[in-house]
């Protein structure tokens, strides 16, 4: 088997049995990156030298018998994760030259288990986008059809897997930013429960919604990654001190009797026929595997996008105030005084989508509008959360589409932000409710574009959706398909 096609578990076995060294594996990945990067654009920064150093160290560790599941595995992370000494841009001009003096806890956890960092992945600027088109460092293309978007905001994280430039990657998900690109690129993407993985050192977009998660080729790999990431971090007040299950050993066991809810609000008229067909087939597969289906209702679904765009932009407007050109980041060269320095630096540094969201959020929090917009949205969020709590009284997991359509064309929605926002309708409610969900490769459109389905779990029920995903994967071949790049 080609190194670049391997999974974490496969490569781990090869490293452990000394069939391969981490340096060999890393070299193979770096070569692949070099070959296909001009067509894909998954990376903002490739850290080749660093990767080879990491790999050499990992090989020593393997030789000494202190091997973890991730030791020597070449990974890449979204450029939203702070990596000490390695440029971190968050897809923005304003951080073009930012070299962080510390590392994100989640990234550090991967490094501590011996993972190799290949580089920093392309993304929408400050994770604001559903298409990766807002990146300041060039478009990222969908490896299945390079005229199309890979999804966003973790577009590079999904494309790098589909293009076989990394064995697994790390992304973040605020309103679907892991699940939607995973769906569009045919990989497994998991958004854990809010508080399950530390946000420390992850550049904030919307603090009450952001969550870190893995993108992988298959469900087993996802469980391996989540095991390395999950857990309480005293540096993140919102991280939760819940026991971390052994996600890998929880995978087997089957899903006989699993109650799967189908929220009727997600199966609306006008759903793309390919997506509908995929859903029908997945339901059929699960039925065959012994799951029971229950129709449920999440009555406030229709308000989720509006709620999300008020809360997320309000938080973002405040989170992005620190980019002021004083202590780090871009500072305008020609500025007449302090106020001018602020406005010029920020206006030069931020792209249009970021500005738009800062403006919206500032407006929603401003005097006279706070109650009508922000507080109203927080109350709507309560109603949306309650929908989930109530629905989960009768089901174990929910099954829904990830996105209303397969990957759209690059440029198709750039001029209509509202249409772009509305395409997140199936993923956003999960972030508002704070629970976990996973996107699973489940089929292809007539045009050969990957289509994923979403499994939504109860809070801290990651092992249940992983088990459900694993059962599906055992019964199907979708995850084995590779883009002909």
């Amino acid at each position: 088997m080609n190194i670049i096609d391997m999974t974490i578990s496969g490569l781990h076995a090869a490293l452990k049995s000394k069939q391969l060294s981490s340096v060999e594996a890393t070299k193979a990945m770096l070569e692949r990156i070099e070959t296909v990067e001009p067509q894909v654009g998954s990376f903002i920064t490739v850290t080749a030298d660093h990767a080879l150093e990491c790999a050499a160290t990992a090989d020593l560790r393997i030789a000494s018998g202190r091997m973890d599941m991730l030791t020597g595995i070449p990974l890449a992370v979204k450029d939203i994760f702070l990596t000490e000494g390695i440029r971190t841009t968050c897809g923005s001009r304003i951080l073009e030259n930012f070299i962080p003096p510390y590392s994100a806890t989640s990234y550090q956890n991967l490094r501590d288990s011996g993972a190799v960092l290949l580089g920093k992945l392309n993304q929408d600027e400050f994770a604001m986008g559903s298409s990766n088109e807002s990146s300041a460092f060039g478009v990222c293309r969908n490896p299945w059809d390079t005229t199309r978007i890979p999804g966003g905001s973790s577009g590079g994280s999904a494309a790098a897997i589909a293009a076989r430039q990394a064995i697994a990657t790390l992304g973040t998900d605020t309103g679907g930013s892991i699940r939607q690109p995973a769906s569009h690129c045919g990989c497994v993407g998991l958004k854990p429960t809010y508080g399950r993985v530390s946000r420390y050192g992850v550049i904030a977009y919307a603090s009450s919604l952001d969550q870190v998660g893995p993108l992988t080729r298959d469900v087993t790999d996802n469980a391996i990654m989540l095991s390395a990431l999950a857990g309480y971090d005293p540096k993140d007040s919102t991280s939760v001190d819940e026991p971390v299950p052994d996600y890998v050993s929880e995978l087997a066991g089957g899903i006989k009797g699993l109650k799967i809810g189908l929220p009727k609000e997600y199966f609306i008229a006008g759903l793309d026929p390919d997506v509908q067909k995929t859903m029908d087939a997945v339901i059929e597969t699960y039925r065959r595997l012994g799951a029971e289906f229950v129709e449920i209702s999440l009555p406030h679904t229709d308000y989720a996008v509006a709620t999300y765009y008020l809360i997320a932009t309000a938080e973002a407007s405040s989170n992005l105030a620190r980019y002021d050109g004083v202590r780090f980041g871009h500072r305008a060269k020609e500025a007449a005084g302090l106020l001018d320095m602020y406005t010029k630096s920020r206006s030069e540094g931020f792209g249009a989508e970021v500005k738009r969201r800062i403006m919206l959020g500032t407006y929603a929090l401003s005097s006279g509008y706070y109650d009508a917009y922000y507080v109203k949205a927080q109350k709507a969020r309560t109603l949306i959360m309650n929908d989930f709590i109530k629905a989960f009284e009768s089901v174990d997991v929910m099954l829904t589409p990830v996105a209303p359509t397969p990957a759209f064309k690059i440029g198709e929605k750039v001029n209509d932000p509202l249409q772009m926002y509305l395409s997140d309708i199936f993923t956003i409610p999960v972030n508002l409710a704070g629970t976990c969900a996973m996107s699973l490769p489940a089929g292809f459109s007539a045009d050969g574009l990957p289509i994923g389905v979403q499994l939504i779990g109860k809070p801290f029920g990651e092992e249940v959706i992983l088990r459900a995903g694993y059962a599906f994967e055992q019964a199907t071949e979708w995850h084995k398909a590779t883009a002909a790049l």
Partner: protein
């Protein structure tokens, strides 16, 4: 709901953003469309509903009052666009 260019200018000032004339017009239209869409929340009866700031109920996250080493002046100032001595340097602030 109708967002005017003046509204856009006011918000831009609060957010320390400078927008060109075309951008102001574009944003006014886009914000108007988005805020118009958001109006649908008004349909919701939220009387007596508690606002949610955190979806997962966590409370009382503390640290003890123990000194941790700072990162050091060099690292602190490493990314500074302009510094003087060990100060960050900014255009003169007049009080």
């Amino acid at each position: 709901m109708s967002i005017t260019v003046a509204d856009v200018e006011h918000v831009a000032r609060l957010a320390r953003l400078e927008l060109g004339a075309d951008e102001k017009k574009l944003f006014a239209g886009q914000m108007d469309a988005i805020l118009g869409y958001v109006e649908k929340l008004k349909e919701l009866n939220t009387d007596g509903v508690r606002p949610t700031s955190h979806a997962i109920p966590v409370e009382n996250a503390f640290r003890e009052d123990l000194v941790c080493p700072s990162i050091g002046v060099d690292k602190a100032l490493d990314n500074a666009p302009l510094k003087s001595g060990t100060y960050f340097s900014v255009p003169k602030v007049i009080e």
